[in-house]
Symmetry: C2
């Protein structure tokens, strides 16, 4: 006979009991962490270094659907998306705070699953969980993460410093996370219509992993540093290539030419895009959630960039007057348009 694993109500444990349980997931890995969870605030020491700060809010129903998002993955991703912002400044993340709004449909075990994911990400990226806040929530799950990092004085790479002529580079491949989400949404609908049908996700493992368990490109930042390659500007791709290009161009007061055929798209993404009747390039431009790095670098560094693993040169910055252009294989130029919140809706 099987014993059901016990679900503990959060109210049985109480706020302080829950905080004590969750504190066990916080282990110190950085000497800079002077004081972690358990006081009014945490203390970190970054003598001679600049501190980088970024924050992201994840709300149930907007950023994730718990029907197909395991809590452990959600915890992992909540950390990763913040670390990605630190790497996008060429920084080294050191610590995170996690605030949690929890409705009463979550058990203590469920929240611990979430923290296991947070812990796994913290261990992998060598950052310390130094504080947070827990609260009841009337509706869904609400997760707010703030990440801190360090950078040598003056060495942060910003968005506003690209120059006309710079190469435009992107890590990894784009569009897969968006297509992974489409697959999860499709399987959810099928499941809701007939609960006997098990979701078919094996065929699209890569795409599903891209949306559920993205990674931050620490490897790219390390390679750039080790090889003395300093981007002139950098940003991480959370909203889609178009949006991020617009940020770099607008803030740097330049234009860009991006070549369609150079945009890296995974083979599984191309096949699935065609199956969904979407242009693969559109998923790369507007899909979002890839958490790859988009950066510009002086054109003299082309050779070194071409030697970098998992980086594609997709175009170059041009004068502001030329605008933001997407050049197709046949040589036609289209104006690139950036999108924000509505990006997902406009693609369908």
């Amino acid at each position: 006979m099987q014993t059901n694993s016990k679900a503990t109500e959060i109210n049985d444990l109480g706020e302080f009991g829950l905080i004590t349980e969750l504190s066990n997931f916080a282990r110190k890995q950085n000497n800079s962490t002077i004081l972690g969870i358990g006081d009014d605030a945490a203390i970190i020491e970054h003598a001679g270094l600049q501190t980088i700060v970024t924050t992201d809010l994840l709300l149930e129903g907007i950023h994730f659907d718990l029907v197909y998002t395991p809590l452990k993955h959600l915890g992992y991703k909540a950390i990763v998306v913040n670390l990605s912002d630190i790497y996008a400044m060429m920084g080294t993340p050191t610590s995170v705070t996690v605030s949690l709004g929890i409705s009463n449909r979550f058990s203590v075990e469920a929240i611990k699953e979430l923290y296991k994911g947070i812990e796994t990400a913290c261990n992998f990226y060598e950052v310390d969980l130094i504080g947070g806040d827990t609260s009841a929530s009337l509706t869904g799950l609400c997760l707010s993460v703030t990440a801190l990092g360090t950078v040598e004085n003056g060495k942060a790479v910003k968005r506003h410093t690209a120059k006309s002529g710079d190469l435009i580079c992107v890590s990894g491949d784009l569009g897969a996370a968006y297509l992974g989400l489409q697959i999860l949404e499709r399987e959810k609908q099928i499941y809701l219509e007939n609960k006997n049908i098990q979701p078919e996700l094996d065929k699209n493992k890569y795409l599903v992993e891209r949306i559920l368990k993205p990674e931050a490109r620490r490897d790219i930042v390390r390679h750039l540093k080790t090889n003395n390659l300093t981007p002139t500007s950098m940003i991480d791709i959370s909203d889609g290539l178009s949006s991020e290009l617009m940020h770099l161009c607008t803030q740097s007061q330049v234009g860009c030419k991006v070549y369609d055929e150079n945009i890296p798209i995974h083979n599984e993404a191309i096949q699935t895009a065609i199956q969904f009747n979407i242009d693969p390039t559109t998923t790369a431009l507007n899909g979002g959630e890839d958490y790859e790095l988009l950066f510009t670098i002086d054109k003299d560094r082309l050779e070194a960039i071409e030697l970098m693993p998992d980086v594609s040169v997709i175009g170059n910055m041009v004068d502001k007057e030329e605008g933001m252009q997407l050049i197709t294989k046949s040589g036609k130029a289209y104006e690139l348009k950036a999108q924000g919140w509505q990006s997902f809706r406009e693609i369908d």
Copy 2:
């Protein structure tokens, strides 16, 4: 003829438009702010100082009711409650990030009101708004604030360092915020039953202000520093005196004796507590949201503490074996019990 002020839908402005509008509320006041809103992350420089980090999550329906909470006050309070945690470590707050989940019932003007409150608090406490995140929300308003501050290396006052024999001190007065909330709830019920009746808040201005627009006790921390008074432990009172005393006693492994008649309670709070048929001491012990500072200090400093404006000595730390005691005027001893989330319910 009166012109209605126009309400702008957030969707008309778009995510990036909204961020641009909100960036206008962020003005740099600290030289430590190297880079603020507008990049992947913010950069601060705190050479030779330790960085203090704290975060708080405020959720509609749990932490505030917009029926009686003006958005400007909410923005102000969201900043203050975080700064209060920095002061409770004897730190100096320098910067905040604000993340916002907004449902579509809020107009751009409403969100700007919220930011006016944030800006007012930032100006008053001389901190910089350096970043954040904006997101749609399916349900209510969700506000997550992280505050950073500085403290001289090793000078932070923690919770676990109180000693038996230390004086227990508290700033301001306690219980008023809880009673202010009771008044707002009562007037809300009256209003919901008959919308022609205007709420009667003038009689209880002090109590209502304590819940809607609390202040962080920067003045107390400044006085302590100026007069070389170093508390042996400190915490801010967000959950109620009992809870906070428990944190200090548990973490410092001591007990406490607190004298009922020494607990500072405002006259308006006493009158209103009686009117609501609640023991005034109970509101001070369990009411919460007062954001006063509770600290312990060596008993040799009694004279200097007695000269401090707006500070009361309410008892002293004792050996752990004696437990946590509340001593009444007649000399009877009661065990103090700490409460968390349920505190408000258990008082009624």
